[in-house]
Symmetry: D2
Subunit: 356 residues, 4 copies
């Protein structure tokens, strides 16, 4: 299934070079209005062709809403939004079909779908499918914000350039909103230049780089999440790994907890007025899968774009060995910048679904 | 819900100091026999009281099967297995109820359940709930093995002591079986002594340590998994984060991919006889959420046990500040060793459910 | 799967002659108390051996609660309740296994489970599995009653003896409670004697009879249910057909609507003080799958018990033709009386799950 | 949710007067071709404006496929099909919004959606939503037919005119195909004229009539279905009640079983060559929720169209009493004829989903 959620359900459909991509969003509350201008601005953060850091390809990512909205207000019926694909010149894809690209899903998906999947442009595995994810998540971000919940994300690392991480106690809605307004959202702006340089340099070599997106959420109430399989960490991980190129997810101190003593890692409880808080927040705002009322903080590691200009070794599905493959076309030398709103959208899905 | 799966469904129930814990396992194939001796041996790997590295508490983890099995063979009906809890002397838990322990789910769960949850021994958040998870997973491990799929796991890190990682190309069923037979399963046995020492030293200080469990799977066929939300990474992450104390999950090269060039990270395709394989396996056997036919390799980071002997600062739920809390009782100074079979069980759940 | 529900989930397990039967009930609200005496009284309505109208077999249907309840109050964790099966003398069931009983699931289930299912006493298809259904439903009946929702049911028909139907406008909580206290709940008490006579007469002939149970619900709020697949009618039908022997379900005027003109069948809207009601209630309180605020009224048709004393023709699974089968043992000549609380329990599941 | 299924999942979206209606169909097998001509012919059976028996309204029900199909073959990705709504002159729907039509979902849905639902043309409750249901079901009918499973349906009753029922033992694929080719599919063609007359006569009076659709399935293998909540009867009932106007569903002898003795109702097993069959088929091919291998036979009762030309009494949502409502526009005097393919489509959903 291509669906997520139980209170709400998001179903994503479409293939990169098919007629259209889109989403169906079920379970939304009737009567909430949608700010389509804000949604458009959010979708543009993901769209390609904005600057030299990404592909120069231009795609119209404007969704048409087919149902569930009347005069800008949710009717309570399923919302279907559709984004038309441009008229791709898919060329002779018979050859493409036979040569699986390293790092792409071409080979395993050919096995899974017995060769009948649409391989053009990556088909259903294309990063383009994150556009409808952003449509769904962009709507939910608005609903969450009305409940005082603000989601923001920053680029914490590009290749070897590492920037500051969120202060998991002090991170504020104001800081997140400021980041969300930046063209290259990173906490330590002075490091931003080095990060951009990493991308441009890889691009110049016909290569690509990966990075880390860090996400924070303020205003999320304590006591949300379910034990075991449906904790906040489980749900967030399930949606974050739905973003192509994510290979690791960690919460709070993450992998670093393995190196700490319990006495270092435990977050002491303190009072702040009448509210119970933790003095530190190494747990990333989640204990036992349930929110503590502190900011949620987590990170996702993105691999370098598998489509690179350099020649690569592959085989053919017809069992020919030692084929040299050169991928043509305009590709993102780094998906991390465009992935920032996608991480936010995925987070909105998981968190909205978890709320009572 | 406390359930996982769509082809099969595992539902876990029980609280640490209630009458019993257990699981219901639906969707199993009729006619498969269960090797109860092998299951018992597997469950003993998780049970407490085995050696100086864990708690000295003794618990009987022997499950009673109430349904779904006749003469040792699955009937196709739901399997319910129950493990009785010993007669705990839960003492005066009114006080316990009021003082949330740092690093535990006490506080967020009190908010979620309005104070009605059973807090004794951690209630539903207790690590003891991994016992029925191992019953379910232990059965599935047997079914997977009959299909040629072998799951194994090793301790890759305890605190500052780091051992070798799996070779993601060469890892074999034989190696995994050997690890599964070891008392302290770690690839680099010479580092095992240092790891044990970390645990004993923390224990002596009334403190605790965390670590990393690395899991590998051989024989898993190519082409399994679903795009987007139900890829293998999504499913595995969902079950791995169900294990108490896991704060990070990564696949293949994991967080390290953020530092690599695309030309370094991509795994070239090569022929091995008539089989398509990858020359390297930085993707951990998963591309686009679908298995490549190479070994699956992934890691989970465990935090140090939050229950420590040292005094800690907390508050009371009745809003008293600056309370010093000393946790009494016998606790694991490190959960990583006992978590090894739990990681395997969780993996079995996710993989069996994903198979067509 | 043996599960129902999305807001709550009920999972039923167990086989008639296995160690135990039971249920897991997830998603219940923490803090609600359970009246175990009332639950016991409700379960006794279903239990066998109460009078001459049913089997003389005695079964202890007392559930043991293994989890989710502390000091009589729901903790919010999954509730598991178990009912032990008596020590059955299942005899030589090899023969039984080979001779499918007419009207029972023996043959199709042998095909489905490749002969590995537990056939003793009907296994998972036994009417005994309605006991855990009543445990789950009995708890939900209490929660619904606290929200002002009262469910009641009556025997409207036994074989050729037909009694009055509910007045779908005037039916009251008081009437339903009175019915629920009757040993042989039927609206028109004068017809009750004839109905009992039908059962006793069939029993004397070694035969069995069917009937119709009619259910009504008062206090159910308007505006509950979902369009299309998850309307109240869909959900109720799904649980009602889970009761063994049900072959038809109808709402309001039911099959009779096929004979009416639109001008006869439509229920006019009227005001009753400030409340919108319908003057008649042929729709059974449901339009478009959504409740109208009027009483819900529906009926389920039960087939005669397939286990009869008379000789019957069957074949053997080993393909022997023309076998005469005589079923021994004590069987209900009519399941309808014991099915009344089961219909109520199933209704409680569907309605509680549908409530926001 | 507006979704059905677990092996496959069908999600229906759209409102009668919104931009479009459609469906997403997940879980279809890659590599199956779709016969679009046959699909079109099937959809035309449901489309309005075909003859004097239905509304004279003309709607284009031609679906556009946005995803999941390439060169006429399923890719294995979710199939999204969209049907554009014509440019409706919805007029001043403020008034419409305030006057709930008797027999329609207007009132309960206004309560459910707090008045924000799209009421124009019935919104999400419109019979028009059965068009995407037929798109999904029409595809599945083709896949089922390739597995030798044929679904057919006939009009068994219109108002007081009753025709013959299927012979549940002898019904053949040939008979079903012949019925599916008829303009007015009814077994007893001589009664067809009387049935049409009922419709035309009601229409002339500005009234409407209901009826009964009977459905049969041949070639469905034995041993399919799940115990309890997911038996074939449960699944079929869940989808059949999704069709607007259905108020009753019965299997095999249905409500009549209540009048039979067990010795009359039980179907004896007999051999037919090497195949086990039943001599009669009062159970409608389903025992314990599992298929017996005999034809499946069941019926759905349809209420008369609630939109009638005659004046009716209603209230206003703003609490005005005693309003006389006259519904204008062209309405079906009977939905039963157009419902025949809808019943088949719904059946295809439930049965395809149940198959292993």
């Amino acid at each position: 299934m291509n669906s997520f959620g139980s209170k709400i359900r998001v179903t994503i459909f479409g293939e990169s070079h098919g007629p259209a991509i889109g989403c169906v969003l079920e379970g939304l509350p009737a009567g909430e209005s949608i700010d389509f201008e804000a949604l458009k601005a959010f979708l543009e953060r993901r769209a390609p062709g904005r600057n030299a850091l990404g592909t120069s390809r231009k795609e119209s990512d404007a969704p048409e809403f087919l149902s569930g909205v009347l005069d800008g207000v949710l009717t309570g019926a399923p919302v279907c939004a559709v984004i038309r694909n441009a008229d791709h010149h898919s060329g002779d894809y018979a050859q493409l079909k036979d040569l699986p690209r390293p790092g792409h899903a071409d080979y395993p998906s050919a096995v899974k779908f017995h060769g009948f999947n649409d391989v053009r442009g990556g088909g259903i595995f294309s990063g383009r499918l994150t556009a409808p994810l952003c449509v769904a998540g962009g709507i939910l971000l608005q609903l969450l914000e009305r409940r005082g919940i603000v989601i923001g994300a920053q680029i914490q690392r590009i290749h070897k350039s590492v920037g500051a991480a969120f202060d998991p106690v002090a991170v504020s809605a104001g800081l997140l909103r400021r980041l969300n307004g930046m063209e290259f959202p990173t906490l330590e702006e002075s490091r931003g230049a080095a990060m951009r340089e990493e991308i441009l340099s890889a691009s110049a070599q016909g290569d690509s780089v990966g990075g880390v997106v860090e996400c924070a959420v303020t205003g999320f109430p304590a006591g949300v999440g379910d034990p075991m399989f449906d904790g906040l960490e489980n749900r967030l991980a399930q949606v974050l790994f739905a973003i192509p190129a994510v290979k690791g997810v960690e919460f709070g101190a993450g992998f670093q907890v393995a190196e700490l003593y319990g006495s270092e890692n435990n977050d002491s409880f303190v009072m702040e007025g009448d509210t119970i808080r933790t003095a530190t927040n190494r747990c990333g705002g989640i204990l036992g899968g349930i929110s503590t009322g502190m900011p949620l903080v987590f990170r996702a590691a993105f691999k370098p774009t598998p489509s690179i200009g350099k020649p690569q070794q592959t085989v053919s599905l017809s069992r020919r060995e030692g084929v040299e493959l050169v991928i043509r076309g305009r590709h993102d030398p780094c998906v991390v910048l465009r992935a920032v709103p996608v991480v936010m959208a995925a987070t909105a899905l998981a968190l909205y679904d978890a709320l009572p």
